[in-house]
Amino acid sequence: MTDRVPFDEAIAAFDPVMGLEVHVELDTASKMFCGCPTEFGAEPNTQVCPVCLGLPGALPVVNEQAVESAIRIGLALNCSIASWCRFARKNYFYPDMPKDFQTSQYDEPIAFDGWLDVDVETEAGPQTYRVEIERAHMEEDTGKSTHVGGETGRIHGADHSLVDYNRAGVPLIEIVTKTIEVPGDLAPMVARAYASELRDLIVALGVSDAHMHQGSMRVDANLSLKPKGSTTLGTRTETKNVNSLRSVERAVRFEIERQAAVLGSGGTVTQETRHFLEADGTTTSGRSKEEAEDYRYFPEPDLTPVAPSDELVQRLRGTLPEAPAQRRRRLQQQWGISDHEMQSLLNAGAVELVEATIEAGADQATARKWWLGELARAANETGVDLAELPITSADVARIVALTDDGSLNDKLARQVIEGVLAGEGSPDAVVAARGLAVVSDDSALLAAIDDALAAQPDVAEKLRAGKVQVAGAVVGAVMKATRGQADAARVRELVLERAGVPGT
């Protein structure tokens, strides 16, 4: 069990120094340096060619689409765009890296010196913090190793490893922040808000689906502590395997608590890579970085420099979507919801989802109700971000429509959602397969009501006397008899009518 001190105590004694590195997999049709498709989830080693397998003799050619996406990301992050920059080789041996070097950008990133504002809810109300961006650069992803036989799925102790090169060469943009300077107690929330804001931006740009759970957006958190008031930087750790927005916050919080315990007991923090464990919110020691690896970077001689013209940059600037923060203000106004309600949507990562659901025909209140209620619960239970649930905004809008026209009630709608999430198909397919239509045939309902009234003569008597508050017992019995597949409001109307309640 790792020692740690409570967060408040840690923050009282130390200031966290934090930087975030985010890798975004671009959803270009082809890889960074070859024509192979990039689709996620294909059979292992089916999306490969001599280039991305690094076969002897094969050469890379830059994917222009990826360069344009990188420039758009840079522009959206308020960065300067390099008029001339090169790729470099980062040399190290690893089996999932086919050439035993990664083609990346090193000291000449395509975009640099930008910023992104993020909103955080504090005790003093919503606050905006500016996260400075150091650089955004292009690189290629590695293949994916699966270590078989070890206890932890890590290479140490494994019997053998399997490598899938489908991912090798998928274009990545690495976005690196400068040191994020915020009050220490806000560091975990700011980290999360930054990841969330960045994800929204990436999605709005249409350059990636930015699914953290599938690894198409990966956040590494660099963190060190310095004693309150000190200017001497501490030793930092880099936490990887942070697979959701919630995990970003938890990982930063845990590292603050852990490092504070190490330093507080007179120890020293080891410079290392740490792995975040979703299950218990802790981090564990990974590769030690004490002996800094020498990657022997040098300019990639197989590629010519990337030199985007001013015209291209201006044209791409014209394609930028509305900034997420600005859009949120517009949507908040449009939907007529409070700051707090908007912040709830933001925290849940639901703004785009709700917007899309509304665009697909749902009203805003119902759209918000489902995404923040039933679906947020499902996301929490499975530990994925809302956007990664296997249900689309169009599905939710369809469920809302089915509820609005009386085909479903809320209880049935929840069952439809459950079915869609379980992979049973579209809402209509689930309705059909599970037989979930509301019983709207009045004669069927009336028969059930008559049975219920007959079974509860005293209730029937009170109803006839005008005591409408007892109607619930009859409605409940009818709903039970129809296994919930009736529209409760309609049942209630019919019960009152049938019992001859005065005034119905």
Binding site: L55, P56, G57, N91, P95, D100, R296, F298
Partner: protein, 508 residues
């Protein structure tokens, strides 16, 4: 037509006879395969002979001709391909144990263009391991011998290709030149070799030694044949980002003399590439070439290239640096040799054992040199400094081409040395490329043309260099000199080579 006549024909003649129906491509291929069978035991020019593939390709050309389809200028002509270009279905070893038995699943662009043109690939030629060397002694599969004197090297790294052409095993061959690996072997075997402008011939499928220097190019027995082959393999390739996206210079027209001779051409003699360090016989032939050029109407100017002296040092930092990275992929994980995978070893151990067993000494030496030169703390002093020298050498060339249209020098300081003579002295070996390294660092085209016999009655080459993308100039000068020399000699220099056991050698 006799087998000897076929093997002694030029590529242009063979293509013409095949197109005219005087001889079938299959007969031509068979004559060359016979010559290989008769001579390669003593030469060892080939690592793989693909008789079946060659006869099949030749048969396809004959079928196309019979069907009345138009044939390209080299259709049916046999060729020897350096074993550094990948060939689908045919082993590609790069002269290294680490790629023993590796059969590539794809064709290099050069390979594909040769096949497309109906050129008949006879097999893959020996080379210094991963093109690192100047003698072909660094091949893991044993050295190649010079047809002029079997105890001498055929140059390197493309020594298998040069020996094959010089021994009439093939009228054409493909080599690669990183610091002189086409020009130097051509010079010491008495044939024509051209390093095109960097980017003029696609490197896709050329197993990389030094990416910023490697360039494929032709070997032939005549300037025109070299040009025809150059035109067949050259030109833009979208699969190679460093390939020049511009029309190929008019090398064939130039070789045919259609762009004129050397009259009025300003020919620069590089002061730094002659004199001390050059054998007397080499210097004498060079001086004769200067005189001949004057007689042919060229204007000789002396040019000064003060930074050429640093070329060797810069080259031996840049090329090994790139090589250390290019050769990292040979780790036993995906293809080629894997050694020491005993079920209990780590991936690092298996990689280490594979590279230990799979690479030869020279390759290891250069990987270590390059790794060191790129290391943190040394990068600026070595790799960075070498790049600055490269810039200075480029400027020397640019300045020289202000006053001269082409530059000339001896191709090599000496004639072919003896096998084993320099194998324990890497620096002496590196000196063989002294005159060829500068234009490699610059990136311009350069030809080695047979210039006569030097010390020990062995061939000497003249190097003709031109500005980037002015490849036609080296062919123009080469063709003019070749015509004059053939007239003076009463034939080709190669006619004076001693007879080898085999069917291809005519009466002497």
């Amino acid at each position: 037509m006799s087998a000897a006549e076929l093997t002694r024909s030029t590529a242009a003649e063979l293509a013409g006879r095949i197109a005219a129906g005087d001889v079938s491509a299959v007969e031509v291929a068979a004559a060359h395969l016979d010559q290989i069978a008769a001579t390669d035991d003593s030469l060892h020019a080939f690592l793989t002979v693909d008789a079946d593939g060659a006869l099949e390709a030749a048969g396809a050309v004959d079928a196309r001709r019979a069907a009345g389809e138009p044939l390209g200028p080299l259709a049916g002509v046999p060729l020897a391909l350096k074993d550094v270009f990948v060939t689908r279905g045919l082993p590609t070893t790069c002269g290294s144990r680490i790629l023993q038995n590796w059969i590539p699943p794809y064709d290099a662009t050069v390979t594909a263009r040769l096949r497309q043109a109906g050129v008949v690939i006879l097999g893959k030629t020996n080379m210094d391991e991963f093109a690192m060397g100047s003698s072909t002694e660094n091949s893991a599969y044993g050295p190649t011998h010079n047809p002029w004197a079997l105890d001498r090297v055929p140059g390197g790294s493309s020594g298998g290709s040069s020996a094959a052409v010089a021994a009439y095993q093939a009228p054409l061959a493909i080599g690669t030149d990183t610091g002189g690996s086409i020009r130097q072997p051509a010079a010491v075997t008495g044939i024509v070799g051209v390093k095109p402008t960097y980017g003029g011939v696609s490197r896709y499928g050329l197993v990389a030694f030094s990416s910023s220097l490697d360039q494929g190019g032709p070997f032939a027995r005549t300037v025109l044949d070299a040009a025809l082959l150059h035109a067949t393999i050259g030109g833009h390739d979208p699969m190679d980002a460093t390939s020049i996206d511009a029309p190929l210079p008019a090398v064939v027209s130039a070789a045919r003399g259609e762009l004129g001779g050397v009259e009025g051409l300003r020919v620069g003699v590089v002061r730094q590439l002659q004199g001390e360090g050059y054998q007397p016989g080499v210097q004498a032939r060079f001086d004769e070439m200067v005189t001949l050029l004057t007689e042919l109407g060229a204007q000789i100017v002396e040019v000064d290239c003060p930074h050429f002296g640093y070329g060797l040092a810069a080259y031996y930092l840049i090329a090994p640096s790139e090589a250390s990275s290019n050769l990292a992929r040979f780790d036993g994980m995906r293809y080629g040799l894997r050694t020491g995978d005993d079920g209990s070893s780590s991936v690092e151990q298996v990689m280490g054992r594979t590279r230990e067993a799979g690479f030869g000494d020279e390759v290891k030496r250069r990987i270590m040199l390059g790794t060191y030169a790129l290391s943190a703390g040394y990068y600026d002093a070595y790799y960075g400094q070498a790049q600055k020298v490269r810039t200075l050498i480029r400027r020397d060339f640019e300045a020289a081409y202000e006053t001269a249209d082409v530059l000339i020098s001896p191709t090599t300081p000496t004639v072919a040395f003896r096998i084993g003579e320099r194998s324990d002295d890497p620096v002496a070996m590196y000196q063989a490329d002294l005159a060829t390294l500068p234009s490699s660092l610059y990136g311009g085209p350069a030809m080695s043309l047979p210039a006569g016999l030097g010390d020990d009655d062995l061939p000497v080459g003249l190097q003709i260099m031109a500005p980037v993308q002015a490849d036609e100039r080296v062919y123009r000068v080469g063709a003019a000199l070749e015509a004059a020399l053939h007239e003076r000699w009463g034939g080709r220099l190669l006619d004076r080579a001693p007879a080898l056991a085999g069917v291809g050698r005519g009466a002497r």
